[in-house]
Symmetry: C2
Subunit: 351 residues, 2 copies
């Protein structure tokens, strides 16, 4: 019997299609003969689509995507400053809209310094942590506004919205993740001394849920202090749970210290399973190097490992993960093309 | 003729009094015989004062402080988690209240990797930039609230308030600062793709003021990308201008990559001169090492250099700065007490 997984594929812009091509190779290699078939539907979304049609994400697109079991996304976004994109906000209208509409309340971003990878830190130590970033609240809700725009009396506000409902579910997910890891450590990152209302909600929620996970050791850091530890002692972290904006900032920094966002994978997860979860590299569409076949597909391939894990295909996920780690360990400074890297990893998976 | 400067001194908590003592030594050494006398008033403010009296900052305190020409602050804040401080928020009630009441709209935080200082970065390069952090707006305004607190239906909001008035004045200050530096480069850091209203105001303001400073080269980075560059290529930065919260985060990271916040000085400046400006090390009160005489007073002493600069005493400021740089260059791993470091720097200033 063969399970069929309906996979929505959003290659996107720039290097997105290039890296997604390699990710799909890895997916095929890892699941061949494993009793699961991926039925793929490609969605042409992103800056290119907007320029061609004026649409960013239609209701029909969204409905069609919702009919899938999971999503693999490359990267979206046009050339920065392109005047034809001035009227569109592809990030808000597409990427964030998907995260919000599909209730991706867990944005899972592992940071591992793999053997053979150079860190910009002189003494990085053993970096192996995961950031559980809230994905549907905080300053990302789009709840801002401005008056008297363009005058000297302009006021522009942004509202961070945080709910017990939203905070509790992501905090509970983070505790479960910490409990399943060997070190069982959870760090809440916020700015409770300044953002006192949101901070208090996060702090009280962590304290309450902690009672259900007596095996997990909990600590707290202000976001500013957390950036210091990320460069002076990143090995101290195991699971970090934090809000949408702090998570955005910390995960780029986390990617940088573990060898660059060219290696950073992420999952936008709806743990309830009501909506398809979406897996994507943390990097963007990099229009400056697009079309040259030189983009590193590693982060996209690692996103496939997260996708397989999410679908309960732990064995296939580990095949991908192990193949990537082995490839990275031997790559050194070699300059390979996107498809050479993809082929090498796919070959290891199949071996 | 001797000018008299009325200096409010707030030693504060923990290591605050220890490092302020050394900073005052440096101040005395740098201004001896220079025709300026510092008339000092000490204000006992902070966690210790709150525990003793229940007051954080009274109207009388504030009025008295306003009668001074400048403020030197050590550090405020009690032992984290001290239950007796649960009802007080010393940071908001004292530190932020001073910044807001005294209209410290420029929070100036230089980052320099001095010769002889170890960075956690493997290849830090030539780090020499300054962050101009807005100090009176953004998510720091205290404009949050919560409903149904403690129930599953709790909602906690935080509002970031940004005004043309507030953004323009700090942006203009940052351009002037960039224009006065050899590299003449300004980087706006924000998150315009998500915080679209506030981001648009910041972006338009920078574009408008740029027209008045044709000699300054301007670029823009999202805050997440800025953290990457701070660890991969910090030498690219000259002047960064950013909002209150992003500035908080970036300056801790900036301090860390340039050798630790033990060396990071800051000025909370009211450029209009309507209110006294306040100079303080970026570090906190460090209750864990307080009272042992081992705190590093360097950041407090460098804050004195910023203070002297602000008061138009460039020569005295440079004396302090040069003495600190010379001391740092030779300190190596030597373990000196707080007063040994202070004495050594004061002696160099006087030499
Ligand atoms: C593109 C942008 C809206 C997005 C975010 O801020 O979440 C990105 O930075 C990320 O981290 O996935
Ligand atoms: C203590 C805290 C309120 C303060 C801030 O967030 O501004 C501190 O982190 C700083 O950077 O001076």
């Amino acid at each position: 019997m063969v399970d069929t997984v309906k996979l929505a594929v959003i290659p996107g812009d720039g290097i997105g299609p290039e890296v997604v091509g390699q990710a799909l190779k890895a997916l095929a290699a890892a699941t061949e003969g494993s009793g699961v078939a991926f039925e793929q539907t490609e969605f042409s979304l992103g800056a290119a689509r907007y320029l061609a049609t004026g649409d960013v994400l239609t209701d029909d697109d969204l409905a069609a995507i919702k009919g899938h079991d999971a999503i693999l996304l490359g990267a979206v976004g046009g050339v920065p400053g392109d005047p034809r994109l001035a009227g569109a906000n592809i990030e808000r209208g597409l990427l964030l809209k998907l995260r919000f509409e599909l209730d991706h309340y867990v944005n899972l971003r592992p940071s591992v310094l793999y053997p053979g990878v150079a860190s910009p830190l002189a003494a990085p130590g053993d970096i192996d942590f995961v950031v559980v970033r809230e994905g549907t609240e905080g300053p990302y809700v789009g709840n801002g506004g401005a008056i008297r725009v363009g005058t000297p009396a302009e006021v522009a506000n942004e509202v961070s919205v945080n709910t017990a409902y939203g905070v509790e579910r992501v905090v509970r997910y983070a505790f479960a993740a910490a409990s399943a890891r060997p070190r069982k450590k959870l760090t809440l990152v916020h700015k409770t001394n300044v953002l006192v209302f949101a901070g208090s909600l996060w702090k009280r929620t962590v304290d309450a849920v902690a009672a259900e996970f007596p095996d997990v050791a909990v600590d707290y850091l202000h976001v500013d202090a957390a950036t210091i530890f990320l460069v002076t002692d990143p090995a101290r972290f195991d699971v970090i749970v934090t809000d949408n904006l702090f998570g955005d900032i910390l995960t780029d920094l986390a990617g940088a210290i573990s060898g660059g966002i060219g290696l950073a994978a992420s999952g936008n997860i709806n743990p309830d399973g009501r909506f398809p979860s979406m897996f994507e590299p943390v990097h963007g569409s990099a229009p400056d190097i697009a079309g040259q076949g030189i983009a590193d597909p590693t982060a996209a391939i690692l996103s496939v490992a997260l996708l397989l894990d999410h679908l309960g295909r732990a064995e296939a996920a580990q095949k991908v993960q192990r193949a990537v780690v082995a490839d990275i360990a031997e790559r050194g400074d070699s300059r390979r093309t996107t498809s050479e890297v993809g082929d090498a990893i796919a070959a290891r998976i199949g071996a």
